[in-house]
Symmetry: C2
Subunit: 175 residues, 2 copies
Amino acid sequence: MPKRIEMVIGGHGGQGVILAGQILGKAAALEGKNVVQTQSYGAEARGSLAKSEVIISDSRIGFPAVRKCDVLVAMNRESLDRYLPLLRDNGILIVDSSIGKIPKVEAKTYNVPAVETAKKAFGESLFANMIILGTLIKITRIVSVESMERSIKESFSEKTLETNLNAFRKGSQLI
Amino acid sequence: MPKRIEMVIGGHGGQGVILAGQILGKAAALEGKNVVQTQSYGAEARGSLAKSEVIISDSRIGFPAVRKCDVLVAMNRESLDRYLPLLRDNGILIVDSSIGKIPKVEAKTYNVPAVETAKKAFGESLFANMIILGTLIKITRIVSVESMERSIKESFSEKTLETNLNAFRKGSQLI
């Protein structure tokens, strides 16, 4: 992977893409990396779209916004359609399998049944964000599993921590 | 206030400036505004510095990063020194009174005893972030008190909600 990695995670409001970006960003910061994590709300993220950007770099981050991303995670159809133009050629595309047919692109594409697995394993689609983070880390190795789990532990209350941690671990087994 | 408002909140790690930015951003989104909220971690935010940017606009936010800010909130000396050059002339500067002497600037300056009040009223300096948000909203009226309180309610668990809400209300009385 390049020294500066730019990522976009998109989904509909309530799918926890903002939290996913925050947890990923925090994990990278735990490893001493430079991180800029941005979330957009409102009409900016049109309708019910939510968008989370994460830039991770070993060196100083000059320009703090994503122009072209190396990795795009799309949790729903709308975010795929909207953010696909941001993905650079030969980037990595991770989509939830509920999206259905994916346009042909010059990207390494992974179809992950995150929402389906969340419903089946935990009875709640809302854990799909941790599942897809597990898959993302397995594929990209942007940060270590240890840093991710530490960041997850710092992000949830005791009540929901175990399920979120299990969801993250399950995600790494889907690939 | 102009149609596009750019804010920077800075402090040391643990002062909750990132959470403050998130709560402010969410409140503006609740009002149907476009919001981009960015946090920087790591050497990017040098040493233990934490930086939260919030851009609020009635229209589409083209450039998603702060170049010059209209409002700077500095919770500690380091963030004041580091981010003061970002504040535009005739902007608004809000500093915690623990910082001490403030350089002379072309800005409307407010010295707020947020940390001191948090310690005295709640026995914990960590509530200073909600206090200074209360002051910020009283001064700037960027979003309504109602939207802020709704955003605060969505951001804390039952256990700490009341204290955070009280801290926010206390902040508006300091000005």
